[in-house]
């Protein structure tokens, strides 16, 4: 077995030192009736690298990769070009095969990267402080709701109808078990986000209002007035960003008064990966809320010689110290994904992020205008960044499947996201990133036209 260095001679020499006759003897604490003396039957035996690669390649080829089709899916996961150096750098063994930096003297690489990552996220979101990352956007979102509950001592959360339905489901799961009241209604297919109605719904029992920006249908809402309405009654505004590239083009949530800004960082550096691992972003606008934050935080300090260095800090919030009184049970971050995000954002810088966002918006406008010319298709949005919603006169879930069969990955049908009808079964949300060509847009338009004819 190529991954096991011990030889039979090594094993006997080690057993001699231990004073045991066999490895099985080391398992004497396992009751004999529960100890397996041979490999489990009906499972295959070991395989060569070549054989495993062949098997996995066969499975991989059963999927239609995004690069092999005109591709327009978004709805919380976005396909962007990732510079080759990102993947090379995250595969350096010193990053890939290291652990949580519990011994900071020999983990400054990871720690400095996390400090840079936190600083980048805070700036991007218009916040004071960001943590070292969470599992993904949806879990960061429910952690934000839980945090708002700790800060305000109120258990009601009002979720925007424009929040990603998976994020809503995740929050509802937690609400069911920790006693939070989650108010939510599915979105109406109208051109504007629902921030105005939310501002009217906030009351003295509201712990937080959660909005998505841009929202699930791609609409961009100004949250300034909503933030004021929340603050007037002592509630917090939580903003969720599932497409961080958008912030190269539009105002940050922090600028508009959001108190907790969370997001899915996958779009920058991480890739699609069929949904995971992704990268939860978590930031707060007011530094006084830092001690209620979940998750790891990296901080600057000095070493015994006065040299600058970095450590994990404020861990008295965390489970390994506080146990059942911790702010969260999370015991990891999404370290390697945070690294990929940070490298990609460093390659872009402010200039590159703005240019990338502009190119996304340009292509999305082009696609929206082109699709509007297809008979039967209506573009819903008045505002959008790189994602917008269209309605079609047929059931969209089947339409998307039919288009996939013709080699066009057309978007995410709202019927799949919202099983409960109300015209949503006619909607498709489409993302148009820099990876889309004008030829792709043309192929989508003609495929749609053909399917709807």
């Amino acid at each position: 077995m190529r991954y096991l260095p011990l030889t039979e001679a090594n094993r006997s020499a080690m057993l001699d030192v231990i004073g045991a006759r066999s490895v099985d003897e080391l398992f004497t604490d396992v009751p004999r009736e529960h100890y397996l003396t041979a490999p489990i039957e009906s499972l295959p035996m070991h395989a060569s690298e070549m054989a495993v690669e062949r098997h996995m390649r066969r499975l991989s080829k059963m999927n239609l990769a995004a690069a092999d089709a005109p591709f327009f899916l978004g709805a919380g996961a976005y396909r962007h070009h990732i510079p080759a150096s990102v993947d090379h750098l995250i595969q350096r063994g010193e990053f890939l095969t290291s652990y949580t930096p519990y011994q900071p003297e020999i983990a400054q690489g990871t720690l400095q990267m996390l400090f840079e990552f936190q600083s980048q996220v805070a700036r991007l979101f218009g916040c004071a402080v960001a943590n070292a990352s969470m599992y993904d956007g949806s879990t960061a979102c429910w952690e934000a709701i839980a945090m708002a509950g700790r800060v305000t001592k109120r258990s009601k959360a009002i979720l925007s109808s424009g929040l990603h339905p998976h994020y809503v489901s995740t929050a509802k799961t937690m609400g069911r078990f920790n006693g939070d009241t989650i108010e939510y209604a599915e979105p109406k297919l109208v051109p504007e986000a629902d921030f105005g109605a939310l501002a009217e719904a906030v009351d003295g029992e509201t712990g937080c209002v959660v909005v998505q920006y841009p929202d699930i249908l791609g609409r961009i809402g100004d949250m300034t007035a909503l933030a004021e309405a929340c603050h007037a009654v002592g509630a917090l505004l939580v903003a969720v960003v599932t497409e961080p590239v958008a912030l190269g083009a539009i105002k940050s949530p922090g600028e508009m008064g959001a108190d907790i800004v969370v997001g899915e960082g996958q779009a920058i550096g991480v890739g699609l990966q069929f949904g995971g691992p992704y990268l939860g972003l978590f930031a707060v606008r007011d530094p006084k809320h830092v001690r209620q934050m979940p998750g790891r935080l990296c901080g600057e300090t000095v070493d015994a010689e006065g040299k600058r260095g970095f450590v994990l800090t404020l861990s008295t919030r965390e489970q390994h110290i506080r146990r059942e009184k911790a702010t969260s049970n999370i015991c990891t971050n999404s370290g390697l994904c945070a690294l990929a995000f940070s490298i990609h954002l460093t390659l872009l810088g402010e200039k590159g992020l703005r240019a990338l966002a502009a190119e996304n918006h340009r292509l999305a406008c082009l696609a929206a205008d082109r699709l509007a010319l297809v008979p039967g298709v209506e573009v819903l949005n008045e505002s959008f960044f790189n994602e917008f919603t269209i309605t079609v006169p047929v059931e969209s879930r089947q339409l998307v499947r039919d288009l996939a069969e013709k080699g066009v990955l057309a978007g995410v049908s709202l019927g799949r996201l919202y099983p409960n009808g109300d015209r949503r079964e006619n909607g498709i949300v489409l993302a148009v990133t820099e990876t889309v060509t004008e030829e792709d847009i043309e192929r989508l338009a003609s495929a749609l036209q053909e399917a709807l004819a």
Binding site: V23, N63, E105, A122, R123, N333, A358
Partner: protein, 521 residues
């Protein structure tokens, strides 16, 4: 923003002599040990390492919210970027550099085949919401890995979506809570051993339970009599780690499960240490109702400097109906992904969704490649060699270091020592930091909490005998210095990229993001 490198390792008038050689350099670099400033100190707002079209005037449908304010994100060209992160990487210790014996963390070799496989376009470049017909291979991977989990654990079902071990714990506890509520028997307390990982009580509390400790016996195992005495109609579940955090197998696990079930409660097993028994013990045979499996431990998906992890949860027949959405179902026509819109029919009692999308696909592909490479025979050898290595360390050091449970029999995959016998002025921390100077990552320190000055050493099956011998040699030498009261241990590490860091300062005056003002200091 465009400031030259004026800070980074600024000298800051050190009071202690710098390094052991006493040689000062102008740059702060020391041969191959290269210092590196922050991107905010070397990057610029106008520098970019990606070629993109210049933004034109074009359309603006941004709802009047176009960004005007600068957000001051520094950029670097590609060569600068590669160099920045390469230099940072070299300040890290990693498994690729040597033994990483962190007890309870399971730092084993990460095969590069797994990295290659995870990057195949059919896995890496697929969207989680693509039509099922276009992702049959991805669903097949989830199904195939799930089948391995079931056969290796002897359990009834598995929830694949949890994103890490603690997330898996939450999944298991929520299944338990949903099952109890479904039978109209909501209970309020979860029992957790004192030696448990902190995630156990934190998870139980997060799921709305009160947490109570179960005491351990003098032998480092769950006190069955005390547990039985505490069981009652208010106890929802017991969370047991097996093998436990002292590196011992819970011999009475089946009796514990039987007692818990007799009292109407359920058994959660923390499977963090499943790597010690994989292929040799099936948790399903021990009466367990739910157990998470850390793919990043037992099945070697990379730890990546702290995540991402993956924590599938195997479930008993009683709990399976409550498992979360989505899940993969095999039918005659192929694989289906059961999500919310099908869930009402296919899984009417599910507790809901734990996270967006379909689980940690990038970890599934790696874990499956690892499992297929080892096969049933190789996985059994994995646990055998891991336990052999740990016992070799235990017996090679126990004459010198106090092994609190060494006399009760073999350990499992990790060897536990205490600081008994150290000179009063020397601590476990000193010993750990001295290991750094010898070129090793230290063991887990001060955990489990039930042993004074605990040192928990987990070598894993990936160390050669020569590697183990070198580690033992170094540890013996340092242990002797610790017992003799060698004061120089307080100075360690002296040869690492940094000396001991001031963690108190970091917590008292938190600096969590870079501020321009720093550069002017």
């Amino acid at each position: 923003m465009n400031a030259p490198n004026i800070s980074g390792w600024k000298p800051g008038a050190p009071e202690a002599p710098s390094g052991s050689s006493g040689i000062e350099t102008v740059t702060g670099n020391r041969g191959l040990m290269l210092e590196e400033p922050l991107i905010f100190e070397i990057g610029g707002a106008d520098t970019c390492g990606v070629d993109l079209p210049e933004p034109g005037g074009g359309a603006d449908r941004l709802g009047g919210l176009a960004r005007s304010k600068a957000f001051a994100l520094p950029g670097l060209s590609e060569p600068e970027t590669v160099r920045h992160y390469t230099r940072l990487s070299r300040q890290n210790y990693a498994i690729d550099c040597g033994i990483f014996p962190l007890g309870s963390c399971t730092m084993k070799h990460n095969p590069r085949l797994n990295e290659k496989v995870a990057r195949m376009p059919g896995f890496a470049d697929c969207h989680p919401l693509q039509p099922e017909a276009t992702v049959q291979g991805a669903l097949a991977v989830i199904h195939e890995l799930a089948q391995w989990m079931l056969k290796l654990t002897g359990m009834h079902g598995v929830a694949m979506t949890p994103k890490a071990g603690a997330h898996g714990e939450l999944c298991g506890i929520l299944c338990i809570r949903a099952a109890l509520e479904a039978r109209g028997d909501a209970r309020s307390v979860i029992l957790v051993p004192e030696s448990a990982h902190g995630t156990n009580p934190a998870t139980a509390a997060f799921a709305g339970y009160a947490v109570e400790n179960i005491p351990a016996t003098a032998e480092g195992r769950v006190d069955l009599a005390a547990l039985k005495a505490r069981l009652g109609p208010d106890v929802a579940a017991v969370m047991i780690t097996n093998p436990n955090t002292c590196g011992l197998f819970e011999r009475e696990m089946k009796a514990i499960s039987d007692a818990v079930h007799a009292a109407g409660a359920l058994v959660y097993c923390d499977g963090a240490n499943f790597n010690a028994i994989v292929g040799r013990v099936r948790p399903g045979d021990l009466g367990i109702d739910a157990m998470h499996i850390n793919l990043h431990k037992t099945f070697s998906t990379p730890h990546g400097g702290g995540g991402p992890g993956s924590g599938p949860v195997v479930l008993s027949e009683a709990l399976m109906p409550f498992a979360p959405l989505p899940f993969v179902k095999k039918t005659d026509a192929g694989f289906e992904l059961i999500e919310e819109e099908d869930g009402v029919e296919a899984a009417p009692r599910t507790f809901g969704r734990l996270a967006a999308f379909n689980g940690q696909m990038g970890m599934f592909t790696r874990a499956l490649a690892y499992i297929l490479s080892h096969g049933a025979d190789g996985l059994r050898q994995v646990s055998g060699d891991a336990v052999l290595g740990a016992n070799y360390i235990l017996r090679s050091l126990e004459g010198l270091l106090e092994a609190p449970f060494g006399s009760t029999g073999p350990c499992m995959h990790e060897a536990l020592f205490s600081d008994k016998g150290f000179a009063e002025s020397v601590s476990t921390l000193d010993l750990a930091k001295a290991l750094i100077d010898e070129g090793f990552h230290p063991m887990t320190m001060y955990f489990p909490l039930v042993v004074h000055g605990a040192m928990l050493i987990e070598p894993t099956e990936c160390e050669s005998k020569a590697s183990l011998d070198q580690f033992i040699l170094a540890l013996r030498s340092i242990a002797e210095r610790a017992k003799a009261g060698d004061e120089s241990l307080h100075q360690a590490p002296q040869l690492a990229p940094r000396r001991r860091l001031d963690e108190t300062l970091a917590a008292r005056k938190p600096v969590l993001v870079w501020q321009e003002a720093d550069a002017a200091d």
